[in-house]
């Protein structure tokens, strides 16, 4: 798993964690009907942190990061993103969503729009950026993810890896301060995984605050400053990557690591 990024030197000069708090989750609980999915989640993310969230299937990883931009509603506790508390107040939700980018496992590009339209839609309609300017910004990010030549194609004409890079670029066009990734590489073939991870590493190198749900442990070792292990809706263990992988404390973590690394 780690070979995907082994050949890359990581530039750490801008990867600094500041004291400023980006996300603060305190005592958060969530239920689906009577099923208690998230149990007493407490998590503080500082600006510039790169956090990898791991855990077995069904442990609530997706649900937790989807609560951060209110794709899911929590029932108890407090989530404060960039100083804005998430409640049923629609204004706050829109504010948080326009500051937080999200990348999905299945890309979720808009198939009826060209790549360029996918990228400029939110800046034009949410941020009220003039079309010209939005297109320039979009082109900048398309170059960054190395597919400027695809701008006028439709998502259906691109490979999976290209689509995911477009999805990342689409989020970046909103100039978010925080990026959430929900298994961005799980729907991809190995060679495409590398393209997408490269893009994510570049983002990390620029100091973006990132929360990634991923099974790419190589990525976690290379760029994360913290790994969070979840099981049964709870945060079981969190540590910096070296300690997490080489010296796991809880039995569940050890079992999980042996399953995912020990093949």
């Amino acid at each position: 798993m780690s070979e995907a990024i082994a050949d890359r030197d990581i530039d750490r000069s801008q990867m600094q964690v500041s004291d400023e708090v980006a996300i603060q989750i305190t005592g958060m609980n969530k239920w689906y009907g009577t099923f208690h999915v998230l149990k007493d989640i407490n998590l503080t993310v500082n600006r510039g942190e790169r956090i990898v969230i791991a855990g077995p299937s069904g442990s609530g990883k997706s649900t937790m990061i989807r609560c951060i931009n209110r794709l899911e509603e929590h029932q108890q506790g407090q989530i404060i993103v960039d100083g804005t508390e998430l409640s049923s107040d629609l204004k706050n939700i829109d504010k948080v969503r326009s500051e937080v980018g999200m990348v999905f496992q299945h890309f979720n590009l808009f198939p009826h729009l060209t790549i360029m339209e996918n990228l400029t839609l939110a800046p034009i309609w949410v941020r009220k950026t003039p079309k010209k300017e939005a297109e320039e910004v979009a082109m900048h990010y398309l170059k960054k993810v190395k597919i400027p030549e695809q701008a006028h194609k439709y998502p259906g004409q691109l490979s999976g890896g290209q689509q995911q890079r477009v999805a990342i670029a689409r989020s970046l066009c909103m100039k978010p301060r925080i990026m959430l990734f929900d298994e961005p590489t799980s729907a991809l073939d190995p060679e495409m995984i590398k393209e997408v991870l490269d893009t994510m590493i570049e983002l990390a190198e620029e100091g973006m605050t990132m929360l990634c749900v991923t099974h790419e442990m190589g990525f976690a070792q290379a760029v994360a400053n913290r790994v969070i292990f979840m099981d049964q809706g709870q945060i079981v263990e969190q540590n910096e990557p070296y300690e997490f992988f080489n010296n796991p404390k809880s039995e569940r973590t050890k079992l999980f690591l042996s399953q995912i690394l020990g093949h």
């Binding site: 937080v100 299945h106 890309f107 808009f110 009826h112 949410v126 989020s171």
Partner: protein, 431 residues
């Protein structure tokens, strides 16, 4: 010439062969006929049977068209000319086409519906085809009022002041836009109040001050394809947006909105259109304040629209259900609000998926306009009865109904072709 000699294997071609036409069995019509018509015993038999059917049909119907009589003023005269030959008597269409098209509309005013029809095509062009300049949309916006004035006549001020209602609604919305809910409610209510209480007096006063108008023509003189098109096109144009709102309402989180929409859809789908039409023609008068003269065509248009809208809502709901949840999530995650997400992301895709169902409903609606004959409106079917009741044309069937069927077919088939064009144009998924 370099003939390859026996013990010399080296060989150089000195003359190039010219291209030759393929053998007759490898390309062209013969190949086509072989592969498509005679590619096996079953296909061969099917082809022969098919050919015989075509031969039989042409043999029987051909002469009916071939010897048809166009110049006759009654069925008796026509029979005399035919002198025992079994052939069509299209004289009835030549004699009565104006009735089939316009009903009992005054002949000197035929130019009005004709002009309205031509302008309708202009107004529809920018909506149907992207290559038409967008500026024409302004004309599309005022066309309904213009058509209303052309068809019913009277003072022009009624239409002008009526259009003003939309302007007032927009102004109210802009003034209150800070509070979205209030602005939306006011933007709907204020124009309705304006139409109910101010439209009559204001347009009356204006027409006294400046009488511009054309002869007023009442609904009971309307008829023929004109009435089918008025009801059909208005119904089509209104049922789609209402259907979209109903479909969204049915999925709404607001329970009240949801139950109103579900109730409406299920009620309308649960009753036959003909009962709604009878309600429109008979019962509505009991509920309206006495003395109000609520135009019968307008009442029918409302009923047909509501009926089609309920079906439309379900068709669009199907399209919405076919969209992956991820599309909603991506729109939400980018910070698009409900209306923007639906307008830019959800509806374009859901409508595209629903095109076949939508056009199905449109075609059904257009054909259902013939039901108005049962409430005494003289649509083409009603007129055909009237024509056959005339002693001149008593006993004629095929020619009249064939003509009506042909006209309906042209309209419905165009809709079907347009929907295919649209589906192809919107195909971006490259699956």
């Amino acid at each position: 010439m370099a003939n390859p000699s026996k013990n010399n294997i080296a060989y150089v071609r000195t003359t190039m062969l010219t291209e030759q036409a393929p053998p007759i069995t490898a390309a062209g019509p013969v190949l086509w006929i072989r592969t498509n018509l005679f590619s096996g015993p079953f296909n061969t038999i099917a082809t022969l049977v098919g050919l015989y059917c075509v031969y039989w049909l042409v043999g029987h119907i051909g002469p009916w068209f071939l010897y048809s009589v166009w110049n006759a003023n009654s069925l008796a005269e026509c029979r005399e000319i035919l002198n025992g030959v079994n052939a069509a008597c299209f004289g009835v269409i030549k004699d009565r086409w104006h009735q089939l098209l316009f009903g009992f509309y005054p002949p000197e005013a035929y130019w009005r519906p004709t002009l309205a029809f031509v302008l309708m095509i202009v107004a529809m062009a920018p909506i149907l085809f992207e290559s038409v300049p967008r500026k024409v949309l302004w004309f599309s916006a005022i066309f309904p009022a213009l058509a209303f004035w052309l068809l019913w006549g009277g003072t022009i001020w009624f239409s002008v002041v009526g259009m003003l209602g939309f302007g007032i609604g927009y102004a109210v919305y802009r003034a209150l836009v800070k509070n979205m809910l209030l602005a939306t409610i006011a933007a709907v209510l204020v124009p309705i109040l304006f139409w109910l209480f101010l439209l009559g007096p204001i347009s009356g006063a204006l027409s006294e001050a400046l009488p511009i108008g054309i002869r007023k023509i009442d609904s009971d003189e309307f008829g023929g394809f004109m009435i089918s098109i008025i009801i059909g096109v208005t119904g089509i144009a209104l049922s789609l947006p209402i259907g979209v709102l109903l479909a969204l309402g049915r999925k709404s989180d607001l329970l009240l909105v949801k139950w109103i929409c579900v109730g409406f859809i299920e009620f309308i789908r649960g009753v036959p259109l003909i009962t709604l039409l009878f309600t429109a023609s008979l019962l509505l008068n009991y509920f309206l304040p006495p003395g109000t003269n609520f135009d019968i065509v307008l009442r029918v248009v409302i009923m047909v629209t509501l009926f089609a809208a309920a079906y439309m809502a379900e068709v669009i709901r199907g399209g919405l259900a076919a969209l992956p949840q991820g599309q909603y999530e991506a729109a939400d995650a980018l910070g698009l609000d409900y209306w923007k997400a639906h307008r830019l992301i959800i509806m374009p895709q859901a409508l595209k998926i629903s095109i076949p169902g939508i056009v199905n409903t449109f075609i059904g609606l257009f054909k259902d306009t013939t039901l108005v004959v049962f409430i005494g409106i003289l649509d083409p079917i009603g007129l055909s009865n009237a024509i056959r009741a005339d002693s001149n044309w008593n006993g004629i069937y095929w020619e009249l109904f064939g003509f009506i069927a042909l006209c309906f077919f042209i309209f419905c088939f165009s809709m079907s072709r347009y929907s295919q064009y649209l589906e192809n144009k919107l195909k971006t998924d490259h699956r």
